[in-house]
């Protein structure tokens, strides 16, 4: 699309980057290697690019009303347990899933009515549902859970901790997540290492690697610091003083860390703003009133700019909150799901527009699933949940994993319809990492607990 402009753009970009780097100067210890930027830009435009996008649903998505039992017996069981929370069966007919491999025992599942756009992509074979996935340390049976005879994830049912376990295999205070550790594997091959892990939401431990640093940007782009960009209160000397004060290395670790962030911000902003401004606008519509859609639109634009950003492998993080619906589940959950479905569908369409649909995979994640039982107006904190994996390379139209029974005190229930996961986040992460190109021997560097499982790849992707 913008290939015709590439040569001219690369030269312009190089010059502008060189000047941006000069500004950041010695205070930018992160790898922005000028020669490597040029090489990686070439590599990026030559193909071989891949990106992974984590869509985190903060608060614990109610999986029970996201993927809903549809065959008459299962729906009746669901209705009996959920009572007023249950979605009526007739509202689910349009989003009934017909997976390419039928579910066992004649079971049928439907997406929430608001997820119609995802149903279309499922039918086209580019979206699948991973059933009952959650945090584990190793394969765990209900008997083992009850006897506490195997290691379990720390602080089950606690929001902040389970967010952290999902993202980083450890409770609050963990310092590296699997998105970041995935980024670590590609720091060398990405000419511009800083753009290996790009976060368009707030800071998330998912995106911190052992070496990889998450680059945070806003849905509107990178923010320029006005005070150093032109004379400050009429004084160029003041602008220069500001730049020096906020970027100089410091001896106190907190002061130094602060200035490292500022220096990164300044250096990256020039590159990102330049790269984005030279792109044609996306024609795929994104709902400007949907914050998740706006984040994903920026991810799509960054992917569009991959060549000038000098990257061939990237991990992105976006998020949407509000899922902790102990109350008002019926009033609020459909709207949230609608936002997720629309944002994901628009994003997938944008990757088609960019010609990279086969090279970009997005997936949902959340603190935990919720209870199947009702507390009258909502549901409580659970464990295993259902999640989506979406992209042109996905062997979609399928439902992976094990479909849980619709019951309280059933074979997967640790209480009140909280699901003991039958597929672990480690499995999911390892499968995604393999698709990104991480070798089997290096998988434990990304997902250390994967060594606790015999099956490692979930077969989410075509070839």
């Amino acid at each position: 699309m913008h290939i015709g402009k590439t040569k001219q753009m690369q030269r312009r970009e190089f010059l502008r980057r060189a000047s941006a780097l000069g500004l950041a100067g010695a205070a930018a210890p992160w790898a922005l290697n000028l020669a490597a930027i040029g090489e990686a830009a070439a590599a990026g435009s030559a193909g071989g690019y891949k990106a992974l996008v984590c869509v985190f649903l903060y608060g614990g998505n109610d999986h029970g009303n996201t993927l809903v039992p549809y065959d008459p017996a299962s729906h009746a069981a669901y209705q009996a347990i959920r009572q007023t929370l249950a979605t009526p069966r007739e509202q689910l007919a349009a989003t009934l899933l017909n997976p390419r491999l039928a579910l066992p025992d004649g079971r049928q599942m439907a997406l929430a009515p608001e997820l119609g756009r995802l149903k279309t992509i499922f039918d086209a074979g580019q979206l699948g549902v991973l059933m009952n996935v959650g945090t584990l340390v190793q394969p765990t049976t209900l008997a083992q859970y009850k006897a506490q005879s195997v290691p379990l994830p720390p602080k089950l049912f606690s929001h902040n901790d389970q967010q952290s376990v999902w993202q980083a295999s450890g409770g609050e205070g963990a310092t590296s997540g699997w998105g970041g550790r995935l980024g670590d594997r590609f720091l060398q091959s990405n000419g511009n290492a800083l753009f290996s892990c790009v976060n368009v939401a707030g800071n998330a431990v998912f995106m911190a690697g052992q070496q990889a640093v998450q680059y945070q940007m806003s849905p509107a782009g990178a923010v320029q610091i006005d005070g150093i960009s032109k004379p400050l209160f009429g004084s160029q000397a003041c602008a220069d003083a500001l730049r020096s004060l906020i970027t100089a290395p410091r001896s106190h670790p907190m002061e130094n860390e602060l200035n490292r962030v500022v220096a990164r911000s300044i250096g990256a902003q020039g590159i990102v703003s330049g790269a984005l401004s030279s792109l044609p606008p996306l024609t795929t519509p994104f709902d400007t009133g949907n914050s998740l859609a706006m984040q994903l639109q920026m991810v799509a634009r960054m992917i569009g700019a991959r060549a000038s950003l000098g990257v061939s492998r990237q991990v992105f993080f976006v998020s949407i909150g509000g899922f902790d619906l102990h109350d008002l589940l019926l009033a609020q959950h459909p709207g949230l799901l609608g936002s997720v479905g629309d944002a994901l569908a628009s994003f997938y369409q944008a990757t088609q527009e960019l010609g990279v649909a086969d090279q970009v995979t997005s997936f949902t994640a959340s603190d935990f699933g919720r209870t199947l039982t009702s507390n009258g107006d909502g549901s409580d904190h659970g464990w295993g949940s259902h999640h989506f994996v979406l992209g042109g390379a996905v062997k979609g139209g399928r439902m992976w994993g094990t479909l849980p029974s619709v019951s309280v005190n059933g074979p997967d229930d640790v209480g009140q319809g909280r699901l003991l996961p039958t597929t672990s986040v480690d499995h999911l992460g390892a499968s995604l990492a393999s698709w990104m190109g991480v070798s089997a021997t290096e998988l434990p560097l990304v997902m250390p607990q994967i060594v606790n499982y015999t099956t490692q790849d979930l077969g989410l992707f075509t070839a």
């Binding site: 902040n160 990178a222 106190h252 602060l258 990164r264 507390n375």
Partner: protein, 523 residues
């Protein structure tokens, strides 16, 4: 006195008593115990001493309540029922303008521990729910922890935010169970935390690792205790009920025996009695002192207090010297007068990144920002790209803007295991957003709140004196000589021949001081 005497005195006529804090020491104390240090405040601390200043502030009169202010401005009209109109304004009114600085500072800190947020209050009269909640924190801030806990628990705002309001007994016929949200979070966040703690706040462990404070069974049991509560006379036409504690309905209260942790609650205990037993049990738990004490230290003084500091504060929490537990005045005194607060040993973990909203409030108080028509139209500062990424009572969730255990990944702090909660808000976007926002407000204020630099115009003729003054007031004189020189040289390039030039000198000096890492990391 000391190095601080080299700076222009806050009040040239004032001679502090011998042994009094220096101006820099007073300024530093005021940034912890209040928001800002005006020359008048500095003299007051020097006159009374720090302990005396605290005593005066504990008894300072309260300004008009948030609730009454909203009514006085007509926000109780029905058309405002489903919004937060006026709430940001009244919050800024007090945080910027109310003279009881210690109380306001502690209220803001408590609002970050006992979190409710405008990001999640789906109820009619939601603005008044927030106003009443903050008023309640003001009322309880200097009382007992047990009283504060009950105020939080029975407030309509928390009732809506964490769903205790409307929580009802289970129904064996339908399988409905009590809502667990408040039961879980009151333990995890407001009282005891997830792990058993020693008296110095460090987790207790055994062969298997850290010991949990409670399990899912404890949550389910406590959820039963917290059934039956609802608004005291909800009304579509008047928000008045929002400032009354919730009331109990016996017919929605779970039947049968219950327990709060290890304490049995008889089936005969009615709802309020059962709630009282549960809150007593939680407030008496040995975790509370170190758990809450450490978080209050983090909000007021430093990000990674030593275990010894936490222990000293927890000891005062356990006993204020008169045999009383949970005396918050005594706890606040212990936090703010502790040797580690007053004279911290230099080290990698010393200090804290100032919270973005505290930087703005400090600046506003330092320049004496006024709202001439009482509009206080600052609005929400929550947008990280254009504003501060943080605004009072606008946390994204009950887990606050940042977690007390946050360790910034991939940093020297991470390698050292230093907790630095505020860094959770610090990223490439927010650092730029902060500088741009402050440049704008320093230049021309925000809303109808315009800074008046007239009083400093004379000082602005002397760039060095100007920088010294703002370094003292804003940064407690913590700027390095080098940073001051850089700023002074730059400010001096602005011609001071006109008032316009002198104003620009003041603006530049202020922004540059507030951009230095020595300012932003409050030590």
């Amino acid at each position: 006195m000391n190095a601080a005497s080299a700076s222009p005195s806050a009040s040239a006529l004032f001679l502090p008593p011998s042994g009094a804090p220096t101006e820099a020491e007073a300024s530093r104390f005021l940034a912890q115990a209040g928001f800002a240090a005006t020359p008048v405040d500095i003299v007051r601390v020097q006159t009374l001493g720090m302990a005396g200043w605290l005593d005066e502030q504990f008894d300072a009169p309260r300004s008009l309540s948030h609730f009454d202010w909203l009514i006085s401005k007509g926000f109780d009209k029905a058309k405002f029922r489903n919004g937060f109109a006026g709430v940001d304004a009244t919050l800024w009114r007090k945080f910027i303008g109310s003279p009881d600085a210690l109380r306001q500072r502690v209220v803001l800190a408590l609002s970050e521990i006992f979190v409710i947020s405008m990001a999640g209050l789906p109820v009619a009269w939601r603005g008044f729910a927030v106003a009443a909640y903050v008023d309640m924190l003001e009322t309880k801030a200097f009382g007992s922890f047990r009283g504060l806990l009950e105020g939080v628990t029975l407030s309509c705002g928390m009732g809506v935010y964490l769903n205790m309001r409307g929580n009802q007994k289970g129904d064996p016929r339908t399988g409905r169970l009590p809502d667990e949200n408040y039961a879980r979070e009151v333990m995890q966040l407001f009282t005891i935390g997830l792990q058993q703690l020693g008296p110095d706040g460090r987790p207790r462990t055994d062969d298997t690792g850290p010991l949990d404070s409670y399990d899912q069974g404890d949550v389910s049991e406590l959820a039963k205790v917290f059934t039956g509560w609802n608004f005291d006379g909800a009304s579509a036409t008047s928000p008045e009920f929002m400032r009354r504690p919730m009331t109990h309905s016996a017919n929605r209260f779970a039947v049968g025996p219950k327990r709060a942790l290890h304490v049995a609650i008889a089936a005969t205990a009615d709802g309020p009695t059962a709630l009282g037993i549960a809150l007593d049990t939680l407030a008496d738990h040995p975790n509370v002192g170190p758990f809450i004490g450490r978080q209050l230290i983090q909000r007021l003084v430093c990000s990674d207090p030593s275990p010894a500091y936490v222990r000293r504060v927890a000891e005062v929490f356990a006993d204020n010297g008169r045999g009383e537990r949970g005396d918050l005045r005594a706890v606040l005194r212990a936090i703010l007068l502790d040797p580690e607060a007053r004279e911290p040993a230099p080290g990698p973990a010393t200090g804290k990144l100032r919270e973005p909203m505290l930087r703005f409030i400090q600046w506003a108080r330092t320049v004496g920002l006024k709202s001439p028509n009482e509009l206080w139209n600052v609005g929400s500062l929550a947008d990280p790209a254009k504003r501060l990424g943080q605004s009072p009572l606008r946390s994204p969730s009950v887990f606050n803007f940042f977690r007390p255990g946050y360790v910034p990944p991939n940093t020297d702090l991470g390698k050292l295991g230093v907790t630095a909660p505020e860094f959770q808000l610090c990223n490439e976007t927010s650092v730029a957003g902060y500088l741009n926002f402050m440049q704008g407000v320093i230049n021309n204020g925000i809303g109808e709140l315009k800074p008046d630099y007239t009083a400093d115009l004379g000082l602005a003729n002397d760039a060095s004196a100007l920088v010294e003054r703002y370094a003292l007031l804003l940064a407690a004189n913590a700027l390095s000589v080098h940073s001051k020189d850089v700023i002074t040289d730059a400010v001096a390039t602005i011609a001071a021949r006109s008032d316009a030039g002198r104003r620009n000198r003041i603006r530049a000096a202020t922004l540059l001081v507030m951009a230095t890492p020595e300012y932003l990391i409050q030590q």
